[in-house]
């Protein structure tokens, strides 16, 4: 006991020393940059104006008045608005199907899950090829149904939906995993009771499975949204934001503004917008983790 009480005073500097390395790296590459990016967003600093000039909310105002940037926001929201619900619902359906006694479970799981472990860059390269005009498999396959060859990535109407397919293909297996884990944690007795009461499969799904998996759905949806807002790799590989800005999204625009236009002030303002959007969802994410923890 004596020892126990002695420890805090004897080692008072130790815990700080233990925390210091982590704190230093987090401070240098997360905390300080978070402050700095807000600060930089209030200045004009680009190739023409080498020394930063204070402009207040000038960068934000010019972004809001820029039709190109509004298009980027719309693209990002549209991309998230389609890929998130589609991949989450698909993940639930696949999870349900995989949770049943089934032939070749391992093979199916592998088919749906393998895109998750690939770098997005390679997935995008594969799909660049899938979409190739003429002999790309997408065109060859649709050709069987009489659909003429499309230039998927070159058509402003088709390019963004084409990118969405890649995102869904890549992410669904990851979300499926959470549903599988969630399904395996559900209380069997409730389902037995429902079965005895003569509930149909669809009724069970609607009134039992889906409500019981609400925590998982919330969690998965939040990661899906946060990921969708950070979509960039496949844009870089597949379209470069084109044709005519049709596939540019927030993070890609940040990168382009920084490296093609060397406009630090504007890129910082865009980053702040991205951070605020993500912060809202991260807080929701954190809340859902807490919830998941208390559910268990």
């Amino acid at each position: 006991m004596r020892r126990h009480r002695q420890r805090p005073s004897r080692t008072s500097a130790l815990p700080y020393a233990l925390v210091l390395p982590t704190l230093a790296f987090v401070a240098a590459f997360t905390l300080w940059p978070s402050v700095r990016v807000v600060f930089d967003s209030l200045f004009t600093q680009n190739q023409a104006v080498q020394t930063p000039v204070f402009t207040g909310v000038g960068n934000y105002a010019s972004l809001l008045h820029d039709a190109g940037f509004r298009q980027v926001i719309v693209n990002t929201l549209f991309y998230a608005g389609v890929t998130v619900p589609v991949s989450v619902v698909l993940a639930l359906l696949l999870g349900l199907e995989l949770d049943r006694p089934l032939r070749a479970v391992g093979l199916h799981r592998l088919a749906f899950f393998h895109p998750t472990i690939l770098p997005m860059v390679s997935a995008a390269t594969i799909w660049l090829f899938m979409y190739a005009p003429g002999y790309g498999l997408v065109n060859v396959f649709l050709g069987n149904f009489g659909v003429g060859s499309q230039n998927w990535l070159g058509d402003p109407q088709l390019a963004l939906p084409a990118l969405m397919v890649v995102g869904i293909w890549k992410q669904t297996g990851y979300f499926m995993l959470f549903y599988l884990a969630g399904l395996q944690g559900l209380p069997r007795e409730v389902f037995d009771a429902a079965h005895i009461d003569g509930a149909s499969r669809l009724q069970t799904l609607r009134y039992l499975t889906v409500p019981l998996l609400r925590g998982t759905t919330l969690f998965v949806t939040t990661i899906a949204v946060v990921d969708a807002f950070q979509t960039v790799d496949q844009i870089y590989i597949m379209t470069g934001g084109g044709p005519t800005n049709a596939t540019s999204m927030l993070l890609f625009d940040v990168w382009q503004t920084l490296f093609s236009f060397l406009d630090i002030g504007r890129a910082s303002a865009m980053s702040v917008i991205l951070i605020v959007a993500l912060l809202v969802f991260s807080i929701a994410n954190f809340a859902s983790v807490e919830r998941r923890a208390t559910d268990e």
Binding site: L18, L23, V26, L102, I117, S122, Q230, L258
Partner: protein
């Protein structure tokens, strides 16, 4: 399980068939990529000659290795991923231990500051971090790719939660036996934390192996470029053009080892992915 086995309805049959069809659709891009990477260069790809061609060959791989320094890219990726992981394991273990077992002033403030990292994804900070890397004269170095990831809030949180489950009595017993904090940490805390640390390691490795935007921003030569950026550069080389057999070979060079590792360690991958919802 048995309670769920009931006569399969028509709906279930349709569902099962749709499921298998979807599985096939999901697998085809990868299978096609593998097939086309073996397609001989002297046979043009066309709608009627879409797969591996009449005499499959490994020439595309040889040529891909000749054109791009994939071996060097591999080395860079391995160094980056291993470097990040080694530093992370040390930093998260130390900080996790402090937060799990010591009480000290400002403890909660410090923990909150670290956990703030979970709220702001690093990709949103590429602009200021790029400036920092420039100012430190680290642009185009492996260290620049690793640096922002040396501190991991997720890791600290995970280690803290794991260490908290270690009975205090074990800690006290070790101290009574004269062990200092390092030996106590090593012999009492780390052994039961192994599964959590392995899960963390796998998710760290797969995240950084696949990372693209940050290395794209801070590298500019083959000496520091990881595989992901290397592949992007390779596919965009003028001389590659639309030579798909070459492009697919390059892709397989990048993903092949990952797929093999995944097949061997499927269980561990799946577990660690489930734990890594927070990165």
């Amino acid at each position: 399980m048995s309670s769920r086995r009931r006569p399969r309805s028509l709906l279930a049959w349709v569902g099962g068939i749709a499921f298998s069809a979807a599985g096939l659709a999901w697998a085809i891009p990868m299978i096609w990529t593998l097939a086309v990477s073996l397609h001989p260069a002297d046979e043009p790809l066309s709608a009627s000659n879409l797969w591996a061609g009449s005499h499959p060959t490994l020439d595309n791989y040889r040529q891909a290795f000749d054109i791009a320094p994939f071996a060097r890219y591999y080395l860079n990726t391995i160094l980056i991923v291993a470097g990040i992981l080694c530093v992370q394991l040390v930093t998260i273990t130390l900080a996790g231990y402090a937060f799990a077992r010591y009480r000290f002033p400002f403890q909660n403030v410090l923990l909150f500051l670290i956990l703030a990292q979970l709220m702001v994804p690093s990709s949103a900070l590429i602009v200021p971090n790029y400036t920092t890397v420039r100012q430190l004269h680290l642009f185009d170095t492996l260290l620049a790719v690793m640096l922002p990831y040396f501190g991991s809030a997720f890791g600290v949180f995970l280690v803290r939660q794991t260490f908290k489950t270690v009975p205090r009595a074990l800690d006290d017993a070790a101290r009574v036996d004269g062990a200092g904090w390092i030996r106590t940490l090593w012999h009492v805390y780390l052994p039961p934390a192994r599964p959590a640390l392995i899960a963390f390691a796998i998710s760290s490795i797969s995240f950084h192996w696949n990372d693209f935007l940050w290395p794209l921003v801070v590298t500019n030569s083959e000496a520091s470029r990881p595989l992901t950026v290397g592949l992007a550069v390779f596919t965009q080389l003028g001389e590659i053009g639309a030579q798909w057999p070459l492009v697919t070979a390059g892709t397989v060079i990048v993903v092949g080892p990952l797929l093999v590792l995944f097949l061997i360690f499927q269980r561990q991958f799946v577990d660690s992915f489930l734990h890594s919802g927070l990165k």
